[in-house]
């Protein structure tokens, strides 16, 4: 491999006083004094959050406003700091989506424990839990920062994805009954 050998010449007399170097440094800092500032004045100006940012995890609904989570508890198991607590509940037999069978009765995420790893989003078979772009979260007590199901839905909103897995399942089941 070709390499260049640097010649180390001894410092000249002027260089050994360090004064020229100090003057150079002063010139650079003086120049900096008038440059454009790079500070983002935070609470007034917010940074642009890139796509795929991992902020707080929330639950999302489908475009028809229905709950997507089926309370399979995979996220609860995968969550490294055990921030998620789910109490599964039954969907009553009369309900229009009774064939989904289960939905969470309670769904708590402790935002103080959460490490924003995104494993819950990755593991969820229903695409029901998503990390949002909210990065600043605060409160006056620990309890306040354990987000309940309603709060999670409120922060999550709707996922605009026209893929209705449970509709297809129902249709498939009905067709099977006809043929079967």
């Amino acid at each position: 491999m070709a390499f260049k050998k640097l010649e180390r010449r001894p410092l000249s007399w002027a260089e050994r006083t360090y004064l020229p170097q100090i003057l150079m440094g002063l010139k650079i800092t003086l120049w900096n004094l008038f440059k454009k500032k790079v500070t983002l004045e935070y609470p007034d100006v917010r940074p642009v959050i890139p796509n795929g940012y991992r902020g707080i995890p929330t639950l999302v609904k489908d475009p028809r406003g229905r709950e997507k989570c089926v309370s399979c508890q995979l996220c609860e198991f995968v969550c490294p700091p055990k921030a998620i607590r789910i109490q599964p509940g039954e969907i009553s037999a009369e309900a229009e989506n009774a064939h989904v069978e289960k939905a969470p009765r309670e769904f708590d995420i402790d935002m103080l424990r959460c490490i924003y790893c995104g494993f819950c989003q990755e593991v969820c078979p229903e695409e029901a839990i998503f990390l949002q772009n909210v990065f600043s979260l605060n409160g006056y007590s620990r309890e306040e920062l354990v987000f309940s199901k309603s709060k999670l839905y409120e922060m999550g909103g709707t996922l605009p994805d026209e893929h209705y897995k449970w509709e297809k399942k129902r249709r498939a089941a009905e067709e099977n009954e006809v043929h079967g």
């Binding site: 440094g25 002063l26 800092t29 900096n32 004094l33 440059k35 500032k37 790079v38 500070t39 004045e41």
Partner: protein
């Protein structure tokens, strides 16, 4: 009516103190602002006083340049909790901030800041002004050493030791670097002595910095060391000693150290301007255009203040440019470079003066 002179002196002193304290407070602001600008930040720009800050355009400008910040800083110092660590020596612990602060405030007494009809504007025009400043300002280091000792913990202790070593090493070079200035100012037939006022008057045509650049440089370096400013801030050295001698101090006691330090800088800049940069003399080669009477006093004072502020800016500018020296480098620079250089400079000037007087005049 025998009280009148006392009262006048009292009022004058009060004005002087407020001006110097104000300058120290705003030097802190300048430090933060300039640090910000040099690093591509804005510096403090949000503190807002009600009413003043709400004047339409002016208020916004004042807020943006942080004019109200020193008020907030001062209030914070006063109202902060002031814990006293259990392991300190109480007497010295409380004494140290005062000892650090009082000399800093005392030196301003002999500092002339302008002239009116050939008489100095100064609180006390004593003819050993320079000696007084050297003597009193180095007392300030006792505050630092006491603080380091009283705090009874290792970082302040190290800070105190460093402060004393540094003070001893640079005091010598500083004293020796001043002598040539006074030697030249004391031309035969003049009554300059060690008076600061007369040194300024002797510079009405040529500033001493052009005549004695080496002395000025040595004095400047020693001044940086004496005021514990970067690159010589050994006693504080945040990265090595937490915050050095005042690690165990909080709230207003820390505030006293802090203000004392900046007062030292302001006064030190004043001395530098007086000794080498012509004081209130206009520009080198020009006669001062100050009119007679009190107007002249005002102009010369303002001109002097302008120069002092420039030097204060230079102090801050250096701080955000140079890295800190290592402790042994500081000692080496002081003893093996500055001291011999100052000595040689003194001897050279003495010989020059002797030649000048015997052969040319």
């Amino acid at each position: 009516m025998t009280y009148l002179p006392v009262l006048v002196a009292f009022v004058k002193a009060l004005i002087m103190i407020s001006v110097v304290m104000g300058m120290a407070a705003y030097a802190v602001l300048a430090e933060r602002k300039i640090a910000g600008w040099i690093q591509g930040r804005h510096g403090p720009n949000r503190t807002l006083l009600p009413l003043l800050g709400h004047i339409p355009i002016l208020g916004r400008i004042l807020t943006r340049i942080g004019i109200f910040q020193p008020v907030a800083d001062g209030l914070k110092f006063i109202f902060k909790e002031d814990p006293v660590p259990g392991h300190v020596n109480l007497l010295y612990y409380f004494l140290a901030p005062c000892v650090a602060f009082i000399p800093a405030m005392t030196t301003m007494v002999v500092l002339p800041f302008g002239e009116m009809d050939g008489a100095p504007l100064v609180l006390a025009n004593i003819d050993i002004g320079m000696l007084f400043i050297l003597a009193v300002s180095s007392l300030g280091v006792y505050g630092i050493i006491l603080a380091g000792w009283a705090a009874n913990s290792k970082y302040p202790f190290l800070g105190g030791i460093r402060a004393s070593a540094q003070m001893i090493s640079y005091e010598l070079a500083m004293g020796l670097s001043i002598l040539p200035a006074f030697l030249w100012a004391n031309a035969p037939g003049t009554e300059t002595g060690l008076s600061l006022f007369n040194v300024v008057q002797s510079q009405d045509t040529v500033w001493l910095v052009f005549w004695q650049p080496l002395s000025a440089l040595i004095f400047l370096v020693a001044l940086f060391a004496e005021t514990n400013r970067l690159p010589f801030d050994m006693p504080e050295a945040e990265t090595e000693l937490v915050s050095g001698y005042h690690t165990e101090y909080g709230s207003m006691k820390f505030g006293l150290f802090f203000v004392g330090e900046y007062t030292h800088i302001v006064i030190g800049s004043g001395v530098l301007v007086i000794l080498y940069f012509g004081g209130w003399n206009f520009l080198p080669g020009f006669a001062s255009p100050w009119p007679e009477g009190w107007l002249g006093g005002v102009f010369s004072t303002l001109w002097f203040l302008g120069k002092v502020l420039t030097v204060v800016f230079f102090f801050i500018w250096i701080r955000w440019t140079l890295p800190r020296f290592r402790y042994d480098q500081v000692m080496r620079l002081g003893w093996t470079v500055l001291l011999p250089l100052a000595l040689a400079n003194l001897i050279l000037n003495a010989i020059l003066i002797a030649l000048f007087e015997n052969w040319i005049v």
